[in-house]
């Protein structure tokens, strides 16, 4: 039976918008608005959506890199959202994050060895010797030569840096890895190397992934379940194959159809959305998608749709269902 590793309940993260003479808060960017989902042990959840829809914010808030505005993050029966900093440190070992930009994710001042030992230093784990050994092990696991420890980040290519970034996240033997667009900045030929690496590591180390990406084909490839977000809100969540076979939400459909397919023989019908993404500081009322939705109804302008299960394990927030 699947065992829930992490439960996110009604998570909200609002960024204040300050204006006026005294910089009073005049509103909020609802970067993450009422997001709930469960991550089971060993699975990969994909989060997709367009730029600015709150994917990264969700990831960072779960790790409390950003303080959540509201909601619960339940991990091992403990609500991380209300944990003190010192207690949080314990849990931080078990959840790690890998960022998108391989160039800013490693401190250019330190050699790779230092960078990889640092997490263990912070948590006072192992002796010096053991650390070095551990670093070598992990590097090997991530497909890098252990001699890399003596080099500086700039001496590596983007793909290699991303491997090092992943290695760093793994030094503390985490359970959960949040991958914030780990392959978006990479070339396709390297991207596939990293994806394979991630799949291997998952098998080997029994990892759970929260995989954030805007690239649907990558998400489809790696995820067990997918969450589609739009303007900070959950639009649809389902088992991957089901979602691609039969997307329910008009937005998901548009998203899928907008992807240029690299096989010219299978040209598909395309739904081109009108207009641009509304400003997250001033989202439309009702369903936030109604301004661009090809099948918008009157009710969509007024009422925000509920999050409901349309099919078995297939959730959607849309008045059509």
């Amino acid at each position: 039976m699947t065992e829930a590793l992490l439960q996110v309940k009604n998570l909200k993260k609002y960024f204040p918008i300050k204006k006026g003479i005294l910089q009073q808060t005049v509103g909020h960017v609802k970067a993450v608005d009422n997001v709930s989902f469960t991550v089971n042990k060993g699975e990969t959840i994909g989060i997709v959506g367009e730029s600015g829809c709150g994917k990264s914010t969700t990831g960072k808030t779960i790790l409390r890199l950003l303080e959540p505005t509201d909601g619960e993050i339940i991990y091992k029966n403990e609500n991380l959202a209300s944990l003190s900093a010192s207690k949080l440190k314990e849990y931080r070992k078990e959840m790690q994050i890998v960022f998108q930009d391989p160039f800013s994710s490693l401190n250019p001042r330190y050699r790779i060895g230092r960078i990889l030992e640092r997490p263990m230093e912070i948590h006072n784990l192992y002796t010096k010797k053991e650390r070095k050994q551990k670093v070598a092990e992990i590097l090997q696991k991530c497909g890098m030569d252990p001699s890399a420890v003596n080099k500086f980040p700039h001496e590596f290519s983007g793909g290699q840096r991303q491997r090092i970034g992943i290695a760093r996240a793994l030094t503390l033997n985490p359970n959960l890895l949040i991958l914030d667009e780990p392959v978006s900045a990479l070339d396709v030929s390297i991207q596939s190397q990293i994806i394979n690496l991630l799949e291997d590591l998952q098998d080997e180390m029994d990892l759970t992934y929260l995989f954030i990406s805007h690239d649907l084909s990558v998400v489809r490839h790696i995820s067990d379940r997918i969450l589609v977000m739009y303007l900070g809100q959950m639009f649809e969540m389902s088992e991957t194959m089901a979602l691609f076979k039969e997307p329910l939400h008009p937005y998901t459909r548009a998203l899928l159809s907008a992807i240029p397919v690299h096989n010219p023989t299978e040209k598909r019908e395309r739904i081109v959305l009108k207009g641009d993404l509304p400003s997250p500081s001033n989202p439309p009322g009702g369903c936030v998608f109604h301004t661009r939705c090809p099948s918008a109804m009157d009710i969509c302008k007024q009422v925000k749709p509920d999050w409901k299960q349309a099919k078995d394990g297939h959730f959607v927030a849309c008045h059509l269902y």
């Binding site: 204006k19 006026g20 003479i21 005294l22 910089q23």
Partner: protein, 306 residues
């Protein structure tokens, strides 16, 4: 924009309060007895105490500070300990002179600095750049007072073209403003060069070329405005520099302005005047910064929205 303005004014106001506190503290800490300065060397102790009381110098510090603020608010800067003149009178007489000097120094900076910056940027790493940049860096490294003395001796005395120090005429202004401006010009040169080079590497410059614009047009129509924006920001801070620079320039050229007054009042421990000159100079800086911000608004459309 209105909200921004108000906030900006509020910020400036806080800075002014800070300035008044700091000047007050400094003035308070000045060694020597201001009362003695007023009554002279040989006055009897009773007279000294009497005058101390009249001047309010026997009250607690904070009371003195608040009464100072209160008087400030009424435009009353008190009387000079040294020669009994109302400080407002002393300052207003010299302020105009200093303003003229600072502005013309500033003009020198701009007139020399910006074209030099443009030239060195356009001819980056060419011989023209090397020569002009070397001159500029020597300019920055020149001691102001040295330059001033050199001007006086060679141009005023030996060549006899311009008057030796003093004020009142355009002729009196030329050498001091050159002295003041030459050092600063080099700063502008560097600033404009750096930012022009950065602008030249921007994509929109490539776009302009791609549209078929000539180099001249690219430099001036597409690059210049973006390139001078940092120079505009600097202009605000520059005022602080100029207000400091006038101390030396005015001393060398015997130019009766705020700087000279400040030096003199520091020598005489003329506390009200010290406070007023420092305060006034700082106010100038704050006001100029404010104006520059507005200017910035006008030049750079990106700011007006956020």
């Amino acid at each position: 924009m209105a909200a921004y303005l108000v906030r900006r004014i509020l910020g400036a106001f806080i800075v002014l309060i800070g300035i008044s506190i700091i000047t007050f503290i400094i003035a308070y800490a000045v060694p020597g007895d201001p009362v003695r300065t007023v009554v002279g060397e040989k006055a009897s102790p009773e007279v000294v105490e009497q005058v101390r009381h009249t001047m309010g110098l026997d009250r607690p510090v904070y009371v003195q500070y608040f009464s100072y603020l209160n008087r400030l608010a009424h435009g009353d800067l008190g009387f000079s300990y040294y020669n009994n003149q109302p400080v407002t009178h002393l300052i207003s007489e010299r302020f105009g002179a200093t303003a003229v000097l600072a502005l013309s120094g500033w003009a020198v900076e701009i007139i020399i600095g910006i074209p030099l910056g443009l030239l060195t940027a356009v001819y980056n790493r060419k011989i023209t750049d090397y020569i002009l940049s070397s001159l500029a860096i020597i300019g920055i490294s020149l001691p102001t007072f040295w330059l001033g003395m050199w001007f006086i001796y060679n141009i005023s005395y030996k060549m006899g073209i311009l008057p030796i120090g003093g004020s009142g005429d355009i002729k009196n202004l030329i050498l001091p403003s050159l002295t003041l401006g030459i050092v600063g010009a080099a700063y502008y040169q560097r600033l404009v060069k750096t930012s022009m080079l950065e602008v030249f590497s921007q994509d929109y410059i490539r776009t302009a070329h791609a549209n078929g614009a000539s180099s001249l047009r690219v430099t001036f129509r597409h690059g210049f405005r973006n390139g001078v924006i940092p120079a505009v920001t600097y202009a605000g801070m520059d005022i602080a520099f100029l207000m400091g620079g006038v101390v030396i320039t005015e001393t060398v050229f015997n130019y009766p302005g705020i700087g000279q007054l400040a030096m003199q009042s520091i020598q005489h421990l003329d506390v009200p005047v010290i406070m007023a000159t420092v305060l006034l100079s700082a106010i100038c800086v704050v006001v100029m910064n404010f104006i520059v911000d507005i200017l910035y608004f006008l030049i750079d459309p990106r700011i007006s929205i956020s």
